[in-house]
Subunit: 482 residues, 2 copies
């Protein structure tokens, strides 16, 4: 698909227009395309490959914590939504309805799932009879649909891909532990694989999942200072168990409701990956998640190709044998300079340059995508240097994102200051909050910022509500958000 | 989910009622459950795990042949179906339509994809401009929906999971080669991983994919003598290229239509896996695809557990380190006899029994699921014997299925004989066919058998049409089918 390459399109600088930068980057890096269906995108191979890498790493962690995958129907009967009243109110406006099949009207409308608590709750009510059936620890990889008014590729699309975990437990405590365990799994994945530092905390009641007792989230800061909710984990208590009559006979011979949880991460995480690390040259992928970690570019005059290419191939094979995801671009129709730009734009963490002079000196040049630094490495040390370099880059990218987040976060003294932080300084504001929905709503109206979460480890305690000046019950992060 | 285990349900013998046997087996083995949505099933963890194993093996082969994964929207605008006239006629009666979102009517109805040639064709028309953009080799893992009148778990469900490959090529020849290459990939997967022998051939015009020039299929014989189409690969010619205006500028500076292919395999393959190998004791899984290849069952009196369990764990770890998928059931609440039956029913290829007397003799007992044979193996040889045994079982299962297929296939002398073969002998009938749709239709009406395919390597050539007695143009397999 060389079409995009034919018209080399500049990427708008981040400082000029961040949204434009984002759209330019994902288009130029060939991650996605718009589709003829409103609000739905096509995940092109380079974009889908990033999701596959996330799936692989998440799935491994889910299985290591005892979960198994299953698959439930795409369609949810209309009556199911009525069984949990907050849930129906929360999702109804966004539901696409199947009303006809072929030429025939359906007796009951079927919604396309926006999330699967209801249909899975129904199935659990069939499967769970005794304490011996618990816990049920199931995850589903699926597409879901929420008809969004305003859409943005990856971040908010009408159809998106995700995983949704649904578990059922005998006790409240176990379910709460599961909720936190999965928040930990997400934190581990996002921080260690994607090199994205997150703020962990609980959502305010107005921002929680419809039907949950408590929602916990990971919030990440994009380079424009806006927040992106990277994952959520919900403690659902007995809400869905009551709606779907999911009961079990306990050891004490009493029939009790189970306690359920649900937790999800979606393809919007790709948006975070792009907006946390990308720069004016394009994507920047952390080595652990990058589909290609090292791109080998042979250089030098055409007549030296016969010498350089076999040596480059040898390096490639040695790296590949060592478990490095490596590729080589030996094509003759593009210059080395074009290739350097291209793979920087596509975010490959390390470029390996090899030319005839390097060969004479038994060395290669390694260029880091993150800092632009180059180093010369003896060929004999390449297979040990590269893994170390990739680990350094992974760590640097995380540290850099963490510093950026720290520099763009501070306590807001009052509403005007909060406005200043989220609008002018482009960052996160920490405030005291009395706990009233009215005060939270007022912040949103006056600053455009929404509450992100009530952090588990706030950097400071704040005594009074930023809105009303009454005693603060919570310390909350506010930010503009995606 | 011990509920199913609590009521030990007998499996109906295959000879008594094959369908009943099938439903009993998949329920008792906990592979699926019925859902509250008409014709849709739930893939329970043990069933979904089989599909994950198929995905892993197929995906590896797709990537090794140069394909990449992508993801296209679930929804297809109504107008897209009109662009290929056979296609719309073929799928229209089975399409669910989204007509409303929230409270609002949509301007154009959206179909839930039954297959994605149309929307992918539209995208390809945007992406392909020049011969340099070709070939496009993309695969999609997705759910699709075809509202079926009669459904059967895995075999025919309203929603199912599959992969669909969609490729575009510069020349007719390349596209035809791709069509055959993917039929080869499927053959390799089905025969070597699933141990299911297949008949390869071309579909008759009445049975081909709506919109294809030619459809090729793999046909497998179930233990009741019915056929199951295991995979299809379609040569679509310029049909979709013309419908969606997918043109490229060729080397000779002329704008030409691309030639496309599509090919798919779905979760119905799980039905084949079950019905080709299963027996009256339940599932029988070929070692290469079995999620658990070896089940270790410690035996002997309770007081010897302290000796037996550590030794069994050591064997398990040694096997696991050697890449064998091994589990142990050391639970105390079920007897060894119960466990033997349970894992036979679940189809685990090898059971390893270890008790105190075995330990005294430095040996273990291996029991094959397929033949029921037992052998005693010195503990020191377990890690070399098991891989060899699994390979033997894989080979035996294939050979056994192949012999069954051979024994239940023969040439039909006339329509009455064909009726006899498919009804009484329960098998496949090879016939000569003049090529007329009327003769094919008559066979279907009189015998209930449908044409399976025109085999590439017919076991015999037949001169005259079984229906009209005119010169036969083709030799065709007929069978009753799923």
């Amino acid at each position: 698909m060389a079409k995009e390459k034919d018209f080399v399109k500049e990427i708008t600088p981040q400082s000029e227009d961040f949204s434009r930068w984002y759209l330019d980057t994902i288009t130029k890096a060939d991650l996605m395309d718009y589709s003829p269906v409103r609000g739905c995108i096509v995940f092109k191979p380079d974009g889908y490959e990033l999701w596959e890498a996330c799936q692989r790493e998440l799935d491994r962690r889910f299985k290591a914590t005892g979960h198994r995958n299953a698959y439930f129907p795409l369609f949810i009967p209309e009556s199911f939504f009525e069984k949990e009243k907050e849930h129906v109110a929360g999702f109804n406006p966004e539901l696409p309805w199947v009303t006809e099949v072929g030429d025939a009207k359906l007796e009951e409308r079927l919604a396309i799932r926006p999330t699967s608590e209801t249909i899975i709750g129904y199935m659990y009510s069939q499967w769970i009879q005794s304490y011996r059936d618990l816990p049920v620890l199931i995850n589903q990889w699926a597409n879901v649909v929420r008809w969004e008014k305003r859409t943005m590729p990856f971040l908010r699309t009408s159809e998106f891909l995700w995983q949704e975990g649904h578990t059922a437990h005998a006790t409240d405590q176990e379910a709460r532990e599961e909720t936190m365990r999965m928040l930990d799994v997400y934190t581990d994945f996002v921080e260690n694989e994607l090199a994205i530092p997150v703020i962990r905390g609980q959502k305010t009641p107005s921002e929680k999942f419809p039907g949950a007792i408590a929602t916990y989230s990971l919030e990440a800061m994009m380079k424009d200072g806006k927040a992106l909710q990277a994952a959520t984990s919900h403690y659902l208590g007995e809400n869905f168990a009551q709606g779907f009559d999911i009961k079990f006979l306990d050891r004490d011979n009493e029939r009790k409701f189970v306690h359920t949880t649900s937790w999800g991460m979606s393809t919007r995480i790709l948006g975070a990956l792009i907006m946390v690390h990308g720069d004016d040259r394009g994507l920047q992928l952390p080595p652990r998640i990058a589909p290609t970690q090292v791109m080998i570019v042979p250089i030098g005059p055409a007549k030296t190709r016969d010498r350089v290419l076999p040596a480059a191939r040898q390096v490639m094979n040695a790296l590949s044998d060592g478990g490095i995801r490596v590729q080589m671009d030996a094509s003759e129709d593009q210059s080395p300079g074009w290739k350097f730009n291209e793979y920087e734009m596509r975010g490959v963490p390390v470029r390996l340059e090899l030319g005839p002079r390097d060969l004479d000196a038994d060395q290669a040049v390694l260029a880091r995508r993150d800092t632009g630094e180059k180093e010369t490495v003896p060929l004999a040390q390449i297979t040990t240097r590269i893994p170390a370099l990739l680990a350094e880059i992974q760590q640097s990218m995380f540290t850099r994102a963490q510093e950026f987040q720290r520099e763009h976060s501070r306590i807001a003294a009052n509403l005007a200051d909060l406005h200043e932080i989220v609008r002018t300084e482009r960052g996160f504001a920490l405030v005291g909050w009395c706990g009233s929905a009215a005060c939270e709503e007022k912040i949103k109206e006056e600053t455009g910022a929404t509450s992100r979460n009530i952090p588990f480890s706030p950097p400071a305690h704040i005594d009074v509500c930023v809105t009303c000046g009454q005693k603060a019950e919570h310390t909350v992060w506010f930010a503009r958000s995606y």
